[in-house]
Amino acid sequence: MSKNIKLRKGLDIKLVGKAEAVLENTPMAKSYAVSPLDYENVTPKLLVKVGDKVEAGSALFFDKNNPRILFTSPVSGVVSAINRGEKRKLLNVAVEPDQVQVYKELPVVNVAKAERSEVIEMLLQSGLWTRIVERPYGVIANPEAKPKAIFVSAFDSAPLAPDYNFILKEERAAVEAGMAVLAKLTDGKVHLSARKGDEGYMAEVKGVEYHTFEGKHPAGNVGVQIHHIDRIAKGDIVWTVNIQDVAIIGRYATSGKLDMSKVVAVAGSEAQKPLYKRIISGAAIESVVGSVAAGVRIISGDVLTGVTTAADGYISANANVVTLIPEGDKYELLGWAMPRFHRFSVSRAYFSWLCPKKEYKLDTNLNGGERPFVVTGLYENYLPMDVYVSYLLKAILVGDLDKMENLGIYEVLPEDLALCEFVDPSKIDMQQIVRDGINLMIKES
C-alpha cells in the first residue's frame, strides 16, 4: 500500500554541472578524518593519541554527554593528527591509512532474532549509531529513547543532488538488510519515501511503509516528508537515516565488517568532470576533487546546506555530494538595477522566469546586504509545511521558548528552511537562526 503525496510549494534551482551517471573508483586517500563537527551537540572526549594504531571500526572518541556513543575510524592505520581550533576545540582526528586494511572484530548479531538492545549495542560499537539522527533537533539519536517511527528518504531533491537510485544500484541487499535493522529499533513503522516516477527498486523493499512524493525541492527533505506522513508533535521522537547510511548499516549487519565505502557525486560548475566517485567516508577532500583552482568554493554537501571545506580538509561524514562553485567576491556595478540575465531569481523583477529550463552558474555572492524582515508571504511558498516561517524565526530571535514550541521548532531543521534563506531578499541567515533556536531549546530542556 503506497500513498502518493503531491507537494506544490518549493523550488528546483537548476545549476550547471550535474554529475554524469559514471562511477569512478578513487585510490586510497593519504588521510581520513572523523570530525565531531559533523554532528550537533557532541562534546568529544578522545580515546586515542597521535601515533596510536587503529583498525577500521576502532573508536577514536566518544560523546561526553552520552558515553555509549562512539565515533570510529573508517580505515585502519595510524592516528596522524588531532586537529584543534580555537580554545582547543577538537576539529577532527586524522588517520593515515594502511596499505592493507584491517577490520576490527565487532559484535554482530542475527538481526532477525536478536533483541532490540543487542541491535542497538551492535550499532553503538561500530560507530554507525552516529548516523541515526533524532528529531526534534537533528542530533544523534539517544539510544535510551524509543522513537514513534523511523523515516528514510530515498531521494534528494536539492540542487545538483546525487541520484541514489544510481548510487545504490548494486546495493539492494544492503538496503534491505539495513531496513530490517531499522525495523528492530522502533515499535512503530519504518517509512521509506521515493520520488514518484523514479522509484527504482525502492517500491519493492519489504517491511517498510512505502510512500511516493511528487514536487520540487524540498520534497526530498525527510523533514518535509515527516510533516506529510506523521507530524512530530510535542513529546514525539522520530529518527531518520540517510538512505546511503542505511546501506552501510545493512552491509555491516550482514558481514560484521565496518566497510565505510560510499559513493559521492562531484558536481558544480567548477567540477572538471562531474561524475560519481567511490570513496571511503572521511577521505581527504583532495583525493575526491583533485586540485582545485583558487577562487573556487568546495562544499561538502549541496549548495543550500553543505559546509565549506578547505582544500586541505576532509569530506563531511554527512556529504553525498561535493559541489564546486565559484566564489563571488567581486563588486558588480549597479548590479541591483541591471537586468542580470546570467543570474537566477525567483522574483519576476529579474528575468529568469523567461527561461525556466536554463541551468545557472551561481557564485557565492550574497547579492545584497542584510536587512530586517520586510517582505511577507514569500517564505511560506518555499516550505511545504504548515509553519509560519517569519513568525517562527522572530520567536527564535527573541528567545521565546513557548512561542518557538507553538510555532513548530520541533518540526524543522535548518536544512528545511534553506530554500527560504535562498530566496530571501533581506539576506537573513535563517539556517543559523534555526540552529540557534534549537540549541536554545536543548539548553533549556
Binding site: N365, T376, Q432
Partner: protein, 370 residues
C-alpha cells in the same frame, strides 16, 4: 574600473577610525548603491537569489512613475496650460520642490539613524520619499512637507526600531500629520491645485451629491484622472499601470489589492442598495485616493497583515472602512487614509488570530497521540 579604484581609495577615510568615520553609514549607503558589495555567503545557503531589498524598492518606485508623471501633467492641465509638454513642464516645476524636500528631509534622518545604530541604510525611504509628495496637495507649503516627513520618519518609523518594525505606513502618517496639524492647508473647499486655481475635489462634491444630478466628474475623467486631487491619486489608469508592475513582479500582494477593491465595492453597493448614496458603487474606486491607497499604501508589506489569510481580511476591511468613512462621516470626505492607518494598527491583531489557528492545529496533534 577607474571608479572602483577611486571608491577603494577613499574608503579608508570613511571607515571607522578614518577622518570622516562619522559618515561611515552614508558612505556605505552610496557605495552599495553604486556597487553590489563583494560579500560572500558565510553561513547557511552558499548561493543566494539575486533579488535584494534595493531591487524590491526600485520596482515600487518604477511602479509609481506613471502616476507621478500623470500627476505632474494634470497639475499643468488644470492650471490651464495648453498642450501636453507645457502642461507637464508646468506641473514638473510646481511639484519638484516638494519631492526634493521630502527626499532630503527623510534621507537625512535615515542616514543619521543608520550611522547612530551602526547598520546599513535601508532602502525603504526611496519609496516613502516619493509617496509623500504623491499624497499631498500640490500647493502645500514646503515647510509642512519637511515637518510631516520628519514626524513620519522619526515618530512613525525610527522610534519603533526602523524599517521593518514600524506599525504605520510612514507616508500615510506624514499625510495624517499634515492633515490634522495643518487642516486649513490640507483640506477644505479651496485647495488642491496649482497657484491661484482652486476647486473642490470630487469627494467633497460627492458629499453633497443628490440623486438625479450630474456626477461631479464623468466616469472617464475620473478614470483617466482629469480632476483635482493629490498629485498621485487622480488617475486610476496610471495607478493601474503601477499595479500591473507590482503584481507581475510579485512585489505587492495581489490578495490585499484585490480584497481592498472587493471591500470597497461591497460597501459601495451596500450603501447604494439601502439608499444612503445615490451614485454608483464603482465610482468610489475611481475618485479620491482609493485606488492609490489600495495599490501603493495598503500593500506595504511591513504595515499590512503578514499571513495570507490575514491579508484577505485586512484588505477587505481597508476597502470597506474607506467607503464607510466617506459615506457616513461628514467630517472626512476622504476615508482611505484613515481606513488604512486604522487597519495598520489592527493588522497585527488579525495576524495574531490567524497564527493562533496554526498553533491550535499543532496542539491538536498532541491530543491525537495520547
Amino acid at each position: 574600473m577607474g571608479l572602483r579604484k577611486f571608491v577603494d581609495k577613499i574608503k579608508p577615510t570613511f571607515s571607522e577610525g578614518g577622518k570622516l568615520g562619522f559618515l561611515h553609514s552614508t558612505f556605505e549607503g552610496f557605495e552599495t548603491f553604486l556597487y553590489v558589495p563583494n560579500t560572500v555567503t558565510r553561513k547557511g545557503s552558499h548561493v543566494r537569489d539575486c533579488n535584494d531589498i534595493k531591487r524590491v524598492m526600485i520596482v515600487v518606485v518604477l511602479a509609481l512613475i506613471p502616476a507621478t508623471l500623470f500627476g505632474m501633467y494634470n497639475v499643468g492641465h488644470l492650471a490651464g496650460e495648453e498642450g501636453i509638454l507645457p502642461a507637464f513642464w508646468y506641473g514638473f516645476l510646481e511639484t519638484l520642490p516638494t519631492i526634493i524636500v521630502s527626499y532630503v528631509t527623510g534621507l537625512a534622518i535615515e542616514f543619521a539613524f543608520a550611522q547612530k545604530r551602526k547598520h546599513e541604510i535601508n532602502e525603504g525611504f526611496l519609496v516613502t520619499g516619493l509617496l509623500i509628495p504623491l499624497v499631498m496637495p500640490v500647493t502645500i507649503p514646503l515647510w509642512i512637507v519637511a515637518l510631516s516627513t520628519a514626524f513620519a520618519v522619526i515618530i512613525g518609523k525610527e522610534v519603533f526600531g526602523g524599517t521593518g518594525m514600524n506599525v504605520f505606513n510612514p507616508a500615510l502618517l506624514a499625510r495624517a500629520f499634515a492633515f490634522f496639524a495643518y487642516t486649513p492647508q490640507m483640506s477644505g473647499e479651496a485647495v488642491w491645485y496649482a497657484d491661484g486655481k482652486t476647486g473642490a475635489t470630487a469627494l467633497e462634491q460627492l458629499s453633497t451629491y443628490t440623486a438625479g444630478s450630474e456626477l461631479p466628474y464623468s466616469v472617464s475623467d475620473a478614470f483617466f484622472g482629469f480632476m483635482p486631487g493629490s498629485l498621485g491619486e487622480t488617475s486610476t489608469c496610471a495607478i493601474l499601470i503601477g499595479a500591473a508592475i507590482l503584481l507581475f513582479t510579485g512585489v505587492a500582494s495581489w490578495r490585499i489589492m484585490l480584497s481592498v477593491f472587493v471591500g470597497g465595492l461591497a460597501f459601495g453597493y451596500l450603501f447604494d442598495a439601502v439608499g444612503v448614496t445615490e451614485y454608483p458603487a464603482y465610482y468610489h474606486l475611481l475618485v479620491g485616493g482609493f485606488a492609490f491607497g489600495a495599490v501603493f499604501m495598503a500593500t506595504d508589506p511591513v504595515t499590512s497583515a503578514q499571513t495570507n489569510t490575514g491579508k484577505w481580511i485586512y484588505g477587505f476591511m481597508v476597502g470597506a472602512l474607506a467607503v464607510l468613512i466617506r459615506v457616513v462621516n461628514p467630517a472626512y470626505p476622504e476615508g482611505m487614509m484613515l481606513s488604512i492607518l486604522f487597519m495598520n494598527a489592527l493588522a497585527p491583531l488579525i495576524d495574531y488570530f490567524v497564527v493562533e489557528r496554526n498553533v491550535a492545529r499543532r496542539k491538536k496533534l498532541i491530543k491525537n497521540v495520547k
